[in-house]
């Protein structure tokens, strides 16, 4: 019953999407604009069918209807309700179904918000987006169908992947990433629609930018939450391993960020059109490449890939997309010629061009490093690894360069810079940067990379704060307004710029936290008997014996630990554990993370022995690491919200 209903809704969605795609593209290209309501209606129909199909799946999961293949695959009567709902995206088929619903939500929002605007582009853009939606609906209906009916349903299922049940962050991390991935379809549709139409008006650039920012912030939050999850669950004491899955989400983030900057040159100078549009298109293509990389199993082994159903389908789709993008850009080349010339290298546009070059190089490092093991094995029959040390060596210098540009760019005017003004504006931030480095040296911190990061962070912070506060200060002086009012009013007058600078501050915080926590961590490892202590930095960790327990969906063995600070005071800490799930033979570790002021004490259990009562630990002190997730997410989200907040003047006019 559930299978039939759910699958029927998927087919209905497929029909709506295909209709919207064909009608939108054909009538758009022949410029019969009367068909727009039909396209919009079909988009609404697609969104509704996909949402309904997902709701049926959630219902099937909650009813433990094991006659549905997907429920039999990930459901279990012992799983807590919240994880039962979440298991909608805990395996391939369900996550692609969920993908369809997110796609429906985005398409609905886009079609609805612009129902009275931008008529000339809407048919083609919605048509392109619906074509992408058709592909995913086809995946759900065919190669990755979760709705297969099992004639002999099992009595109980294995439950979702234990790694997903192990931490509450897993509830919000995947939806955030999907919102980021899927959302890139919208700017892709906007850009491709404009190219197909053969026009790229100024007005159409605004939705292009705003609808890139929406998936950008979700992607940012998704990436940060993912690293937080890795840190809090996997127990190896890190948060970023340059794993193919992480790289897959990082690449579209890089190109979308580059786009956000180059679009300023496009809007201001009517130049860099081809490059900017290419970035919008490639952000989307990279989300598809990323989905292919993470979902086809190609990285487990080249051989398991050919056995998976969706891998080849994805490859064909990627090839079609690449051909489509290249042909479209080539055909519309004349439309993308610069209308004005740019200034020299020492100008705002010069710094943005360099920024784009650096982002492109990082993307290249990540793409090449991730794919090279496949290329080398496939073409040269040579199995090799391109791992964390490679990415750190190649990408970190570019990232430090990026930090430098983040300070230089906002200081430079468009066009040409006057040498004297430039010296005056650079003096204070530069001095602060140097002072920061000297203070760090005096405090005993060493290492070129971290010190360069801290110095540049000081430099960028001063530049950014000055840009944020200067307009407010003018108001305070001229109008005798209070600082609060002045800041609020000046921010609301130029939200895009104000929000952008808040995001910059967030990136500075993340850069400092990453540099500090990787360069100045303290590590200790060893085996303890009950009652023994082990030093890690200026803390002592006492092992108080083993402990065990049982929860509905798992059993666990843990170590009781107490944290001792230098002054001899004891602090209770939640102990690290091994969780045993029915579905997995190896235990899943849960490290213990205790935030102490600006550093984390991180204890993970390596091994234990019931007979002797001993346990082996890995312990770390990580300075500042928590700032990545707490301050990073907060500042990025705040800045984006400021930039996206609807325009009051426009609202009043409509």
């Amino acid at each position: 019953m559930n299978s039939t209903l759910g699958y029927g809704l998927v087919l209905l969605g497929l029909g709506f999407a295909a209709f919207a795609a064909i009608t939108g593209l054909v009538t758009g290209l022949t410029r019969r604009e009367s068909a727009l309501p039909w396209v919009r209606g079909a988009v609404y129909g697609y969104a509704a069918s996909m949402l309904a199909s997902n709701l049926v799946m959630v219902a099937a999961l909650l009813q433990h209807d094991f006659s549905v293949k997907y429920v039999a695959q990930v459901g279990s009567r012992a799983t807590p309700t919240i994880f039962t709902i979440v298991s909608l995206w805990s395996a391939l088929e369900g996550s692609i179904l969920f993908w369809g619903a997110v796609m429906g939500g985005y398409l609905f929002a886009f079609a609805f918000i612009y129902r009275k605007q931008h008529g000339r582009y809407m048919q083609l853009s919605l048509g392109v987006m619906a074509a992408v939606a058709t592909f995913f609906a086809f995946l759900i209906a065919g190669p990755a169908n979760p709705w297969v009916h099992l004639p002999n349903p099992p009595l109980d299922g294995p439950g979702p992947n234990p790694l997903l049940q192990n931490h509450v962050l897993m509830i919000i991390h995947p939806p955030m990433l999907y919102l980021g991935y899927v959302g890139m379809t919208i700017p892709f549709g906007i850009a491709a629609g404009a190219l197909l139409r053969g026009e790229l008006g100024d007005a159409w650039l605004v939705p292009l930018r705003k609808w890139t920012l929406v998936p950008w912030i979700f992607l940012s939050i998704g990436i940060i939450l993912g690293s937080w999850w890795a840190y809090a669950v996997l127990g190896w004491g890190g948060y970023w391993a340059w794993d193919p899955v992480e790289n897959a989400s990082f690449m579209p983030w890089l190109t979308a960020t580059a786009f956000m900057h180059s679009t300023m040159v496009l809007e201001k100078k009517k130049a860099l059109k081809l490059w900017t549009i290419a970035l919008a298109l490639s952000s989307f293509v990279l989300t598809i490449v990323g989905t292919f990389m993470t979902r086809s199993g190609v990285f487990n082994s080249v051989h398991s890939f050919t056995q998976s159903d969706i891998g080849p389908t994805f490859l064909v789709f990627i090839a079609v997309l690449l051909v489509f993008c290249v042909l479209l850009l080539a055909a519309r080349g004349p439309m993308l010629v610069a209308e004005s010339s740019l200034g020299g290298i020492v100008s705002r546009e010069g710094s943005i061009l360099l920024n784009n070059l650096v982002f492109a190089c990082i993307t290249m490092v990540v793409l090449l490093g991730t794919l090279f093991p496949l290329i080398s094995e496939g073409l040269f029959n040579e199995k090799l690894t391109v791992g964390e040390p490679y990415f750190n060596q190649m990408a970190l210098p570019f990232m430090v360069a990026m930090l430098f540009l983040m300070g230089v760019g906002p200081m430079l005017p468009w066009g040409a810079a006057d040498a004297k003004t430039l010296r005056d504006t650079a003096l204070l931030p530069g001095a602060v940067g140097v002072v920061v480095v000297l203070v760090c040296l005096a405090l005993g911190y060493r290492g070129a990379m971290p010190l360069a990061t801290f110095g540049l962070a000081g430099f960028v912070t001063v530049v950014t704060l000055r840009e944020l506060l200067l307009p407010a200060r003018q108001r305070v002086e001229a109008q005798k307004e209070s600082w609060g009012t002045a800041l609020f009013v000046s921010a609301s007058r130029a939200r895009r710029r104000f929000g952008g600078y808040v995001v910059h501050l967030g990136i500075v915080v993340i850069a400092v936290a990453v540099a500090a926590s990787s360069a100045y961590k303290t590590h200790a490892t060893g085996t303890l008997k009950p009652g023994e202590t082990m030093p890690v930095g200026n803390y002592q960790v006492r092992f108080d014996g083993l402990d065990r327990g049982r929860e509905p969906h798992r059993e666990w063995v843990g170590a009781k630990i107490t944290l001792l600070t230098e002054d001899g005071r004891e602090h209770a800490a939640e102990g690290p554990r091994f969780n045993y799930y029915e579905r997995s033979t190896d235990p899943i570790g849960s490290p213990s993370v205790t935030g102490r002021f600006v550093r984390d004490v991180y204890v993970s259990l390596l091994a234990y022995d019931q007979a002797t009562g001993t346990a082996s630990f890995n312990m770390w002190l990580f300075p500042l690491v928590g700032a990545i997730w707490y301050w990073g997410i907060f500042l990025l989200a705040l800045g984006t919200l400021i930039a996206l907040f609807p325009d009051q003047r426009k609202r009043a006019a409509s």
């Binding site: 794993d243 200034g343 199995k383 690894t385 040390p389 490679y390 005017p413 003018q474 007058r493």
Partner: protein
């Protein structure tokens, strides 16, 4: 052989790495163990080094590194030991030779080409500014907006 050992330990009571996990060496040599371990890939994990992986196999491999360090082997000899057993695959970063040279050189090549493109797009110093929209070097629409608001 190691694998059989790991399996037997997992199946027995508790969860322990083979040989109980050797105790770390003195601070200096242990730092070397961790540094070398960072560059060797865990044989059963997904692209994690043996210094980072909590898997029992990785613990055993890290113990092997400890043993070799204690026996006075050089870093290169330790890498060689692992490459002999597991292939080039065991190195976390590919060597700067052969096919693998591509990953090291290609991004730098892209950087150089990119720099040429950037400087080609930008106006060279000395050439006059475009006659089209005259660029006021101190214009700033943000501040202009503030000024305009103040004049209201």
């Amino acid at each position: 052989m190691t694998l059989a050992l790991v399996l037997s330990m997992v199946l027995s009571q508790g969860y322990a790495p083979p040989r109980q996990g050797q105790d770390p060496l003195d601070v200096e040599r242990e730092a070397r163990v961790q540094r070398v371990g960072k560059l060797l890939r865990c044989a059963v994990c997904q692209g994690v080094s043996i210094a980072d992986s909590p898997a029992s196999m990785a613990r055993a491999q890290l113990d092997k590194v400890r043993e070799l360090v204690a026996a006075g082997k050089s870093d290169d000899e330790i890498y060689e030991y692992f490459v002999e057993r597991y292939g080039e695959w065991a190195l976390m970063e590919p060597r700067k030779a052969g096919v693998a040279l591509t990953v090291w050189v290609a991004p730098l090549l892209a950087l150089v080409i990119g720099l040429f493109l950037v400087f080609g797009t930008l106006r060279r110093p000395g050439t006059p500014a475009s006659p089209a929209p005259p660029v006021d070097s101190v214009s700033d629409d943000f501040l202009d907006q503030v000024r305009k608001d103040l004049e209201k």
